[in-house]
Symmetry: C2
Subunit: 557 residues, 2 copies
Amino acid sequence: MSQDRLIYLPLGGAGEIGMNAYVYGYGKPGEERLIVVDLGVAFPDMDTTPGVDLIFADVKWLEERRERIEGIIITHAHEDHIGAIGHLWPRLRAPIYARKFTGRIAESKLEESGAPIKSVLHIVEPWPAQTITMGPFSVGFLPISHSIPESAGLIIDTPKGRILHTGDFKIDRDPVVGEAFDDALWKRAAEGGVKALMCDSTNVFSPAPGRSESTLAPEVEKLIASADGMVVATTFASNVARLKTIANAATAAGRRICLLGRAMRRMVEAALETGLLTDFPAVISPEEAADMPRHKVLLLVTGSQGERRAASAQLANGSYLGLKLKEGDLFLFSSKVIPGNERGVIRIMNMLSEKGVDIVDDAGGRYHVSGHANRPDLQTMHRIVNPQLIVPMHGEHRHLREHVKLAEESNIPGFLAVNGMMLDLTDDRPKVAEYIDTGRTYLDGSVQIGAMDGVVRDRIRMALNGHVTVTLIIDEHDEPLGDPWCEAMGLPELGRGNAPLVEVLEAELTKYLRRADDKTLLNDDALEKELRKITRNTANSEVGHKPEVTVIISRLV
Amino acid sequence: MSQDRLIYLPLGGAGEIGMNAYVYGYGKPGEERLIVVDLGVAFPDMDTTPGVDLIFADVKWLEERRERIEGIIITHAHEDHIGAIGHLWPRLRAPIYARKFTGRIAESKLEESGAPIKSVLHIVEPWPAQTITMGPFSVGFLPISHSIPESAGLIIDTPKGRILHTGDFKIDRDPVVGEAFDDALWKRAAEGGVKALMCDSTNVFSPAPGRSESTLAPEVEKLIASADGMVVATTFASNVARLKTIANAATAAGRRICLLGRAMRRMVEAALETGLLTDFPAVISPEEAADMPRHKVLLLVTGSQGERRAASAQLANGSYLGLKLKEGDLFLFSSKVIPGNERGVIRIMNMLSEKGVDIVDDAGGRYHVSGHANRPDLQTMHRIVNPQLIVPMHGEHRHLREHVKLAEESNIPGFLAVNGMMLDLTDDRPKVAEYIDTGRTYLDGSVQIGAMDGVVRDRIRMALNGHVTVTLIIDEHDEPLGDPWCEAMGLPELGRGNAPLVEVLEAELTKYLRRADDKTLLNDDALEKELRKITRNTANSEVGHKPEVTVIISRLV
């Protein structure tokens, strides 16, 4: 009879920064009781996922084992940890555990899914005040500092020992809003020995010690005090501490605050409702802001990553809710650009520049600090917890690999586990139990599709090479009725020699049909294949693109 | 009678970093004799230009005035200055002037265009040895340090005074290969007064003084000496000085050099042929490299920007010309990532990480220096030249604007001229003479198309929302023959309620046709419009996408 085992299985987040989804299990192989930590999203891009709205980890493995899931834990309310909860809960239907602020954000996501929030969502007090029993696991939420309030690490007690799961964190002893990093608390959590530390890897390549959120206030104050016109500031809406720092600086400079963007208003509301923000200044409406002298207003806006529909982009484009920027205004990006978003951010900066708006960004590090532990801070965490094993998470492959090396520098074994690699942690040495088929699920418009379904591949091909429709009617005698008809989309109108492309295509197809034998004319598949090939090759020689081709053969009977 | 005037007209490069193309003119308004400085490319991206191969400035204005062009000057052999010469020369057909190394690179580009190179391409010796007369202009090529050999600034003498055009530059007094920045030469060029300085703006936001190419050698040597396995280094192939620094370090560490990638081999050849490189070590072939012990080899490879088909990407993917990377090898990115290329570079880094290859990049600045003048170096240039006017070029709007501010800090008037803005420089104060319609031309496969032709717009739309073909046959009595037929591409197969999307579309279209009046059925345009609308709306409600639709109505007569 097989023994109970303790397993760890990342489904997302161990191979990218995004779409976090980690599974722990305990029990007989194949019968483990499971807990899920985080259900986040990743964001699409034109290069690889055009037309996609959101990206989730593929949770098919979990869905098939739904009755074994004891619960879903959300460590904090960043989209890459909470963003998929509304979309995936209907497939998993397990209870959800989160701290108060995180739960408040989860609620609005679950509302859209139609989940019975009251019976599903459980609000947890931080350890040691509360531990929750989840089948064979006992779980405590350990407060930890990050760039959003009430971030939680997890103490996961299992029959085979204690696991600490850091969640996203930085070591910030003065975080402006929410709990400071509490060395004593984490030391206490590590007392008696930790079997494994699952640890954030995001900033493993940043060599300098991380800076506290509180170091920004003097710089932000100075900047805003020096401004003559309207000031606009953007950052992640969820960075409530930053919002407070900026709002305080604005107030000190005699400015009123106006919040622009749905996420900005929602986060401030959630923070006020949950008691995290107590002394945030009363805000004014866009209409009020538009009526005030420019030097009396600060707009706190969404869109720090250059998102096309966010408030930043709309202000850069022209106007937003009656507010317009002009020469002498100041725009502060209190944020860093997430790799891949550079083009969008630069586009906005240039549009602002065209209006004569002065732009201040994070170059120099005066107006932004990261929410993740830098290399020396990771080492501090390693030292505090002193686990038997470090399993890096929350990173691309290069981050995980570097974090394993860093662990080994501290003389702690590290193990590089990527998405789909099920680790057996039962014994002292981890071993790979199994490889699970993992992947990505796309929220595509209103439906979920698999990354490998071919839908997005076809879109990319059309984006690169255009599309041609070929229609052909075959009459009752199995002869072409008239000539084939072509329509092209996303292709140059004229080819070599300035002849219209579709005319050249039609001529080539007609030429082929004149000499096609009866056997081919009778066989739709063969005929379609031939017409497609001729279309692709002719287009390639005319305009240098091999388009996607839709052939429609209609037979009159 | 109108007076002769001196004009400056950027067609590209004053609004982006890329596709440089500047025009100077002198003569009666509308009859100016023209010189063109640089004909470069910009690079496409999936977000805005999917399927496009290269981007040029739109030279229609020049083409229409072809007989007035005295010549085309190429300042240096970077693609954003020389890349369009082969593609655009056939439309302009003017003589080309360049220094020897640049000319050597121009030749290979002109060969492809079928231009009569011998009669077209003129090699120019640097000022003061040679000045060339180009109509009313007298032009000298002023050596200046940059990240490619033989970069040239220009002295443009006009009847209204002297213009200095920096070209791309940095102030490097020890550039490893090629001419050091020569303060005395530039001072001498500025003697007697300079009417206007057209000046590189790329690094106007970089606050620290630029570092010399020569500062890298000790660091690169140390790194390569410390490596145990194979070493791969990538940088821009045109950075001949960097190639030499890396090759020297490899030689010092007892390694042989193997060049991978066409551009890499071509640049080294051109540098050897033109005498710029004299002591470059003899290289080995990929076959030889594969047979040698790993610690005896250094591969110098293309693809520092993550380009999908370059040697770096191929090595990361698996193997290239029989060479494979493995655990313990070292990969050096001796380059910075151009904004927008982050995703491609990171993709390669993660693939290398999966192979266990150690990656060293420019974080920390030890293995790369920029080729452009930083803020303090721009001020040095301003001071040396002390012009009456500074016109920033080679920058996005934000760079140009900042450079104007920087000029004014030095008490020199600056003027922000963007693409298409024709400046009249005749008098002491510049004024805008005219706005020229400018834009971008795409090399798209094998043909040139306009950016506003709608071709790329259609591709983007298909990438975001897919494509549906609707075919309908109308019989001799103007009645639908059977039901309409749909084919979808790039759309989820199943919609709401898991019904196949095309079946739902066909059902909706059929329903419409059953109730359509005779008038609509007789009118192809009206019918097509209606079928398209129904298809788009139905798809939107089924899968959340409004696809591009091709409707083909065939009438039997």
